[in-house]
């Protein structure tokens, strides 16, 4: 019960999805998105002391069906990790499916997270052409990868909460 209220409260903090769209390409459908956010002082301090952070993007494509429950065509998530090497003073951003990027400054690293590479969410053929899908996108700092005490702390510590509202738009499959 308490956990549920936390989830809803968390959704209201910090991250704004400035742009989100689905592009059809040769190898499948890609999500092209941009986010606007700043790290809270607590998070910034943590990352500079070497605590790794993870940012997860969730996307879900559903097709309403009048005769049955909605068809969940795509449900996918991607986690981008941000890490600071205290010894070499380098920020690493690692995205699944691409090379680890190194940055000298935090802003550069965050820029890579704010404007991530386009993400292949579904292979070609996963969507029915011509059908209209409801797309739900959400982006948040993933606490699953934190130490458990930090997870507990995040219950009622806004320093450790960073999440976007759910952004919903429709997409007509091409």
């Amino acid at each position: 019960m308490l956990a549920l209220t936390c989830v809803t409260a968390r959704a209201a903090e910090g991250i704004e999805i400035t742009r989100a769209g689905i592009e059809a390409s040769d190898d499948g459908y890609r999500l092209s998105a941009a986010y606007a956010f700043d790290l809270t002082p607590g998070l910034e301090q943590a990352i500079q002391h070497g605590v790794p952070l993870s940012f997860t993007t969730e996307i879900e494509l559903t097709r309403p069906r009048w005769y049955w429950t909605d068809d969940r065509a795509v449900s996918s998530r991607r986690t981008i990790k941000l890490n600071y090497d205290v010894l070499f003073r380098v920020y690493h951003v690692s995205t699944p499916g691409s090379i680890q990027q190194n940055f000298d400054t935090l802003d550069e690293a965050l820029l890579a997270i704010r404007r991530p590479t386009r993400w292949l969410i579904a292979p070609k053929g996963a969507l029915k052409l011509g059908e209209t899908y409801n797309v739900t996108v959400r982006m948040y700092m993933d606490r699953e990868y934190l130490l458990k005490p930090l997870q507990v702390d995040a219950f009622n510590n806004s320093d450790w909460r960073l999440a976007s509202h759910k952004k919903t738009f429709t997409y007509r499959a091409e």
Binding site: M1, L87, P96, I99
Partner: protein, 762 residues
């Protein structure tokens, strides 16, 4: 506390315990539950809330019972508070200490000195790396200077010499502007240096003053996810290396070339630096998490405390309920006993003193029940005996009056009412001599008791506890019967209540007196008849002789006088003879010769003499056919019927009423009755009724006494004769006026039936 509440508390506590255990395991930072710690926490809080609700409900129930003053609730409250206190206080103390301990110890782990040491170590590592990098950069500058303007072959040898000269240098590459290897030398001859080419960004940076100088490697395995980035042998050996890329200072006009030098960091430095950086990171992570850790511990502790408190309260309720229950059962029992319910209480199934107490309580109520039922039985027996006595008294033919010492009537039976015509029982509580109509009786009784007292005082009559006396009391005025009642009364003293009392038993002996009178009359009549009859014949003969002898000798006048006188004498003597014969007949009725007889036949035979069959008959027989034969003397019964019919006809002659025609009914019927021995019997009843004036009240009660008659002529021996004959036949005769007051009715009941009557019918 209801059963459901109990079970809910027990189950809730059990769930809470399990969840607490899981929560404690989850704090180990591993395993399945670690991932679901939030859900565990949520569930735990939910269970705590549920338990809280349960406990509140239990409290509320207890409070309302306490308010209502329900029995046992005070004890429950005391026990409950006691047990809850015992459970809660130690828990609170442990909780306080633990919270203090946890918050202080966690803070103490994160020491400024440790942090400073880690910082210093980190700086030291960085400094060492920086120095090595600076050395390598200087080396690179030197090599680059020598490489300037050199051809490919020279460059190769220069590079090889540089690698050989330098300690720890892994590789030296000379690249052109496009990044292509111009010349290379490696420490390990077999390694393929071409795999470790600088990126275009590095080359770009190298073109700037200062060049590119960066330590590489030592990256967490987690981040080495990109495909194609294979761990090189060098990486595997040290994990850390230094890379320097500088632009070769070419003479003007030549294409730019770049020199890359890579050098492994000494293994102990690399490993120590890696350990240090890991430790630093983990320390920082923990430092950031210290608040969460404290929250987690305190939260777990608080939850544990809450659950323990609620469970303790719940357990207190259960224990208090269990302890108080036998007492409540006993209290309920005492109240039930006070209300008279002696049924056994449910026994508390324990072996301790409480169980024994309830058992002995039940034994006590059992004995009480036994005693009470014995009393009940005795009372019922007494009551039935009393009722029996009362019914005997009530149905007694003799009148019984009980008085106290002052002569006040205490009790009287129904027979008193019947005999005295005064309902004395209804007047109980009044002195006997103040009851209307009993003044004579009361006076006689009082005198009798006084006389007895006097006799006792005089010393005579000792041993006789009662007196016996015949009392004549006049009929009450206003009744239709005006002759006296003769009572035979017996009185005795008896103890009634605290003082003494009197009891008077009396019987109406008017009938007995009447019977005695009849017998006396019979005897008188027999003697008188005998004495009178003897001189009658000589008188008659003498008179006839006088007439016969003197008739011729006297003159005509004298003769006429003589004849007249003698005729008078003879006729009067004859009348007297007849009267004497009647007396004799009454006194000397021959014994009845009983033989089987059909009463109907006899009546029909007699009626032949009376009936003219012309429709003007006043006699209407109504004879029941199939009447059983009776034992009787036909001659005597014939006389009875004649007498009764004669009486009826005489009565009809006296009637003055103009209304109904004169009428006489003769009825016979068989009567079934229940004898004293319980067997059913059959009797024959003969009734003769007329619609004449009926019996005068004075006559009615003495109708069967001789010489009592309402007729101008008649000896008054008719009905006494009838009675005598009927009684000789073992029957009963009864005279009465008809219920509607018109005429008389005589009814004869013949009880002796012919023994062979049934056989004859069969």
């Amino acid at each position: 506390m209801t059963q459901a509440l109990r079970y809910a508390l027990v189950v809730g506590s059990a769930i809470a315990s399990i969840l607490l255990f899981l929560l404690a395991s989850a704090s180990n930072n591993s395993g399945f539950f670690a991932h679901n710690i939030t859900w565990l926490l949520g569930m735990e809080i939910g269970v705590a809330v549920a338990l809280l609700v349960l406990v509140l409900v239990a409290f509320w129930r207890l409070y309302s019972r306490y308010k209502a003053g329900k029995f046992g609730s005070r004890l429950m409250v005391r026990l409950m508070l006691l047990f809850a206190g015992i459970g809660i206080l130690p828990g609170l103390v442990v909780f306080m200490v633990s919270v203090q301990f946890v918050s202080h110890s966690i803070e103490s782990w994160f020491d400024v000195k440790i942090e400073a040491a880690l910082d210093s170590g980190l700086n030291l590592s960085r400094a060492a790396l920086d120095e090595a990098l600076a050395d390598l950069s200087a080396n690179a500058g030197t090599v680059a200077a020598t490489l300037a303007g050199q051809g490919e072959q020279d460059a190769q040898s220069i590079l090889a010499r540089a690698v050989d000269d330098s300690n720890g240098m892994q590789s030296a590459l000379l690249l052109d502007a496009a990044g292509k290897v111009v010349a290379s030398a490696t420490e390990d001859r077999h390694a393929v240096a071409a795999t470790d080419l600088p990126t275009p960004q590095m080359l770009k940076q190298a073109a700037m003053p200062g060049g590119y100088a960066r330590p590489e490697g030592g990256i967490d395995d987690d981040f080495r996810e990109a495909p194609g980035e294979q761990a090189t042998a060098l990486d595997a050996a040290t994990g850390l290396r230094l890379r320097v890329v500088v632009a070769v200072p070419e003479p003007p006009g030549m294409a730019p070339r770049y020199l890359q030098l890579t050098q492994g960091v000494p293994v102990n430095l690399a490993s120590n630096a890696a350990v240090l950086s890991t430790a630093y990171r983990e320390y920082q992570e923990r430092y950031a998490a210290r608040r969460g850790l404290r929250k987690m511990y305190i939260g777990t502790l608080t939850l544990t405390l809450l659950l323990a408190i609620f469970s303790a309260i719940g357990a207190a309720f259960l224990i208090a309920g269990n302890l108080a229950q036998p007492l409540l059962v006993l209290a309920e029992g005492t109240r039930a006993v006070a209300e008279g319910d002696l049924s056994p209480r449910p026994i508390v199934e324990t072996n301790d003193e409480l169980g024994t107490l309830t058992q002995s309580f039940n034994a006590m109520t059992g004995q009480l029940f036994e005693a009470r039922s014995a009393v009940e039985r005795n009372r019922a027996a007494l009551e039935s005996a009393k009722a029996h006595l009362e019914s005997v008294l009530a149905n007694m033919s003799a009148g019984v009056i009980v008085m106290d010492a002052d002569g006040v009537v205490v009790n009287a039976n129904d027979a008193v009412h019947r005999i005295l015509q005064v309902d004395v029982a209804a007047l109980a509580g009044r002195p006997l001599d103040q009851i209307d109509g009993l003044e004579v009786f009361a006076g006689a009784v009082k005198r009798a008791f006084s006389a007895q007292s006097a006799q006792s005082a005089a010393g005579r009559g000792r041993g006789r506890l009662h007196w016996q006396q015949q009392i004549e009391i006049p009929r009450r005025p206003g009744t239709d019967d005006d002759h006296d009642i003769t009572l035979l009364a017996r009185g005795s003293r008896l103890p009634v209540g605290a003082g003494s009392g009197f009891i008077v038993v009396f019987d109406d002996i008017s009938d007995v007196i009447s019977a005695q009178r009849s017998v006396a009359w019979g005897e008188v009549a027999r003697r008188l008849a005998h004495e009178i009859k003897n001189p009658l014949t000589p008188i008659q003969l003498s008179a006839e002789r006088l007439q016969m002898k003197l008739a011729d000798r006297v003159d005509e006048d004298a003769a006429r006088l003589l004849n007249k006188a003698t005729d008078t004498i003879v006729s009067q003597v004859a009348a007297m003879k007849r009267m004497v014969d009647d007396f004799r007949d009454y006194a000397r009725t021959p014994p009845a010769m009983l033989a089987p007889l059909d009463l109907n036949d006899l009546i029909e035979e007699i009626l032949n003499l009376y009936l003219s069959e012309d429709g003007s008959d006043v006699i209407h027989p109504s004879l029941q056919p199939g009447l059983p034969k009776v034992m009787g003397d036909a001659t005597q019964l014939r006389q009875v019927i004649h007498n009764l019919l004669q009486n009826a006809q005489d009565a009809l002659a006296d009637r003055t009423a103009q209304g109904d025609p004169p009428r006489i009914d003769i009825v016979t019927e068989a009567i079934h009755y229940v004898g004293a021995d319980g067997a059913t019997g059959t009797a024959v009843r003969l009734a003769i009724m007329d619609n004449g004036p009926g019996f005068a009240p004075k006559i009615l009660s003495r109708a069967f006494e001789p010489y009592v008659t309402s007729k101008a002529r008649g000896t008054g021996l008719g009905l006494p004769m009838v009675k005598k004959i009927v009684e000789e036949h073992g029957g009963r005769v009864d005279v009465a006026n008809r219920a509607d007051g018109s005429g008389a009715s005589v009814s004869i009941l013949l009880l002796k039936l012919a023994p062979e009557a049934n056989l004859a019918e069969a």
